[in-house]
């Protein structure tokens, strides 16, 4: 937020809107309880930004309690690229005393504290912030009346925010009506009453806290869509022609499963809620075997349970998509926190040499496109593909260009064409193409797909030569895939002191950190990997151009001081300049943590940064 210093108090008279201070973007943190509907109004703000050609990124915490409990929803919205949800809030809304006490530290000095005067008693001696006391609860009760108590106070707050930030009320009302329109008229009416009351709260009380966003700079002519990562992934699967799947409930994967269960029947497909994770991956492999590329998914513990079946998919060369929404581990770990600690399991989790493809989306938009990429690879290389998304991406909302669906939709029809007489399920001289049941084979000899080591026709074998050849076949097809991937490219200075390497949801914060590092004069660049196994070609060349390669990950530094991707890259490239920046607090990276980490590592290694 521009203008960190509040203007002088002009005696309690509200500034006319024209004198509202201009800002590029703002970080609004809503702190309350999960049942207060703060996610709902956070979602409205995000959608409004998307509809207004602004950019947006949200961040939320989910209480790990069964029902209710403190939670926050943070929205960063405004003009230009929003790469992170913000290290610090510019504007904090505290619904309760605990919200005030726990989240005041997230508010930057000079920021605005808006609190519910009916619940919060702030420290009167704390002059670091502009404090605004609003009667959120009583104002809502008064506005809505009847038996609804303080239900709707989230919309009262939305009204206040709309006033403070000069938001487009017509668009917001439209969003409220769309959201609640399917319900009774009372609900829409009450929501608008609360919203209007918040908006109309006497402006004098808001002191000088009036702002307006700089005009959007977005150049794309496509409309923006605003959604969370799990939704984007779901729609990506549908665009990719995936119509069948199976899963088992686990946080934070479940919402993908729930959406697929309701969406797929519309497209003629189906999703089975299985009895357990082992059943889920098995149903999915059965679908794939029957000719329909299928999806299963889970989070940490569930991925562990699927590992034996995944090894079968590698051995039998069966296409499959596995989504793993990573969370804090090991074991039950931290189910509602983020971590990137399943990378090595995704690569190596099954027994035996079981190479499989591993991809990771970099942001919400990429959740959509990575699903399409996963399906393409699974079909073309007859292989399981694991997508490593994470808890932060799963619920994060971003705005992005609406995909050009007409050019992206993939035909889901299975290939049941007749196979020639020389058909082999496991040819040594080319990539396996699965022949689903129902396809006739010219020779009259039908294939058995198998988890036993086998010859080209699928017969079990104990031959040392064949095991060597078939192991190579399964490895070489991933190398063939690697050769087709676009060469790795760094963003930023073409050579220099620091290369920041990342994967998955850290893309935005790393990019923002890179911008800061470069602004301070360091020659630096960012390389973000979407393909983690196999790695894209050209990494050696990029690595060679930087004095220090810092791999940023949300996982542990391990016994030898390197995070999971850093470990892989050191093993692969044997480049001693590869270093590791890791953390395990279960939270997304703050930009300042990356900048400080880079400074610290650079100092230690004698590299200017």
């Amino acid at each position: 937020m521009v203008s960190p210093n509040p203007a002088e108090n002009n005696g309690g008279t509200a500034l006319p809107a024209a004198e509202a201070r201009a800002l590029n973007d703002v970080v609004i943190r809503l702190a309350g309880n999960s049942q207060d509907g703060i996610q709902t109004i956070g979602g409205f703000l995000a959608r409004l930004a998307g509809r207004s050609d602004q950019d947006v990124m949200t961040y939320m915490t989910i209480p790990s309690t069964i029902s209710g409990g403190p939670s926050i929803f943070q929205v960063r919205m405004g003009t230009g690229d929003i790469l992170s949800s913000g290290d610090q809030a510019d504007f904090l809304v505290a619904f309760y005393q605990h919200s005030y006490e726990n989240h005041l530290s997230s508010l930057r000095p000079g920021g605005v504290l808006l609190y519910d005067a009916d619940h919060v008693k702030p420290n009167p001696d704390d002059k670091r912030f502009t404090a605004v006391a609003a009667p959120i609860t009583s104002g809502t009760v008064e506005a809505v009346g009847g038996s609804s108590k303080d239900k709707g106070k989230n919309l009262y707050v939305l009204g206040l925010i709309a006033r403070v930030f000069n938001l487009d009320v017509a668009k917001l009302s439209g969003l409220i009506k769309e959201r609640f329109g399917g319900k009774t008229e009372d609900i829409v009416r009450n929501a608008m009453l609360a919203f209007d009351a918040g908006y109309a709260w006497p402006a004098d009380n808001l002191r000088d806290c009036f702002y307006r966003f700089n005009p959007p700079t977005r150049t794309s002519t496509r409309p923006q869509v605003t959604l969370d990562g799990n939704s984007a992934m779901t729609y990506g699967l549908i665009a990719a022609g995936v119509r069948y799947g199976s899963g088992y409930p686990i946080t934070p994967w479940s919402s993908i499963m729930e959406m697929l269960r309701s969406e797929l029947p519309k497209y003629g497909g189906l999703f089975v809620q299985a009895e357990d994770e082992l059943g889920a991956v098995s149903y999915a492999l059965g679908f794939s075997y029957s000719g329909h590329l299928a999806i299963t998914g889970s989070s940490g513990p569930g991925l562990s349970l699927k590992m034996e079946a995944l090894g079968w998919a590698v051995m039998s060369e069966m296409p499959l998509i596995v989504i793993n929404v990573q969370r804090g581990g090991p074991s039950t770990g931290m189910p509602t926190n983020v971590e990137q600690s399943d990378l090595l399991q995704a690569l190596y989790g099954s027994h035996g040499d079981a190479p499989r493809v591993v991809l990771a989306p970099r942001d919400v938009e990429d959740c959509f496109y990575i699903a399409i990429e996963a399906a393409r690879i699974a079909r073309a290389y007859s292989t399981p593909v694991i997508i490593l998304t994470d808890q932060a991406l799963s619920s994060r909302i971003e705005a992005f260009d609406e995909p050009d669906l007409a050019g992206l939709m993939v035909d889901p029809a299975p290939d049941l064409s007749a196979r020639p007489a020389d058909f082999k399920p496991y040819p040594l001289d080319r990539i396996t193409r699965h022949a689903p049941p129902g396809s006739r084979v010219g020779s009259g000899v039908y294939p058995t797909v198998t988890g036993l080591e086998h010859d080209e026709l699928g017969h079990p074998t104990g031959s040392p030569q064949l095991h060597t050849k078939m192991t190579a076949k399964r490895r070489e097809k991933l190398k063939a895939l690697a050769a087709t991937l676009p060469a790795a490219e760094a963003f930023g200075d073409p050579e220099g002191d620091v290369l920041l390497v990342g994967w998955g949801s850290t893309f935005g914060p790393v990019r923002e950190a890179l911008n800061r590092i470069r602004n301070s004069g360091t020659k630096a660049a960012q390389l973000h990997l979407r393909h983690l196994n196999p790695l894209p070609p050209g990494l050696e060349d990029v690595f060679r151009r930087y004095r220090q390669i810092i791999v940023v990950e949300i996982n542990d530094e391990g016994l030898y001081g390197y995070g999971q991707l850093a470990t892989l890259l050191r093993a692969r490239y044997a480049n001693p300049a590869i270093r590791s920046l890791t953390k395990t607090d279960g939270l997304t990276y703050k930009v300042s943590e990356i900048v400080n980490g880079v400074t610290h590592l650079s100092a230690r290694n004698g590299v200017p940064a």
Partner: protein, 315 residues
């Protein structure tokens, strides 16, 4: 001149040579000489010959164990999956492709021990497929450990003083789990086995057959009490014929779960035949209904139009 045909003539039920044992035979079985599983394989060929399904639409699946080597010996589309999980896999095949005829083979360890949970849940979901459990009361492939059906007192490498964990009663378990067709047969009774496999295959839903199949290597003589030429009794279930005769009142009503449970509680060696044969909507049908309803609401929109309208709402 005859009237021009508007539609091409309907194809005959099959436009090809009948399915023969020769066409269905693949690798020579690797089972021990004398193993009961040979007879099961023979009856599967016979049943498929009689059923005469299009060859490419038959799927032969299995998990892990001696009996689970089955698919390699049958020339149909098929697969050898992982231990205990062949049922959810095969249910996926059936639900993905309602035009296929899915058969799953396995043993007592695969079905009742490591796969026990899957058996319960696939049974209650009632997908259209046939599951044949070749029960030999012992782990054979791993060379004589206690199985979930090993009787108390049976000495194995894991129970050298004799098994003492209560064995499961497969028929009772299956009745309880909600399977809609449950039968029991014996590897020494070729005609009976063939009949059971054919009836199971024609059942609209989840059909399961337990076949007592002797392991001559690790549990010889396990089923002698039900082999007439060894002095035993092969007792058949008398199914109700609804012929109005007085004796029909004492016959077994295969739609009666309580009666099936009672039959399943008969003392060893128990009875053989169909314990349960009842109608309940299959998961195939219920999912198809769900799809039909969803498609009705989407009013014939193409996949592209559907997804476009979803994104339009996210603007």
């Amino acid at each position: 001149m005859s009237a021009p045909e508007i539609l091409p003539p309907a194809l005959p039920a099959t436009d090809r040579a009948p399915l023969t044992k020769k066409a269905l035979t693949a690798d020579h079985p690797t089972w021990c000489p004398g193993c009961g599983d040979f007879a099961v394989l023979h009856c599967y060929y016979r049943a498929l010959e009689k059923l005469n399904y299009p060859h490419e639409k038959i799927v032969t699946m299995a998990g892990i164990g001696c009996s689970s080597r089955f698919p390699y010996f049958v020339n149909t589309h098929g697969g050898h999956y992982i231990h205990g999980r062949s049922l959810p896999f095969s249910a996926g095949v059936s639900l993905g492709r309602d035009d296929l005829h899915v058969f799953v083979f396995g043993g007592d360890g695969d079905g009742f021990s490591i796969g026990g949970n899957h058996l319960d849940h696939v049974a209650r979901k009632n997908p259209r497929l046939t599951y044949v459990i070749m029960d030999n009361f012992v782990y054979g492939l791993t060379k004589k450990q206690t199985s979930p059906t090993s009787p108390i007192g049976f000495k194995t490498k894991t129970d050298p003083t004799g098994a003492f964990d209560q064995p499961i009663n497969p028929m009772r378990k299956l009745v309880d789990s909600g399977a809609t067709f449950i039968a029991r047969s014996h590897a020494t009774q070729v005609n009976h086995m063939t009949e059971m496999i054919m009836r199971a295959a024609q059942h609209d839903g989840f059909s399961v057959i337990e076949i007592l199949s002797e392991c001559v290597e690790f549990y010889p003589g396990a089923f002698d009490t039900s082999v007439p030429r060894k002095g035993g009794t092969f007792g058949l279930i008398q199914e109700k014929k609804n012929d109005g005769t007085p004796e029909d009142a004492t016959r077994h009503d295969t739609t009666d779960e309580v009666a099936a449970y009672r039959l399943a509680s008969e003392p060893w060696p128990g009875l053989f035949g169909v314990f349960l044969d009842k109608k309940r909507p299959t998961k195939n049908q219920l999912e198809a209904n769900l799809i039909a309803k969803a498609r009705e609401r989407t009013k014939g929109a193409s996949d592209l139009q559907l997804l476009q309208s979803t994104f339009a709402k996210l603007r």
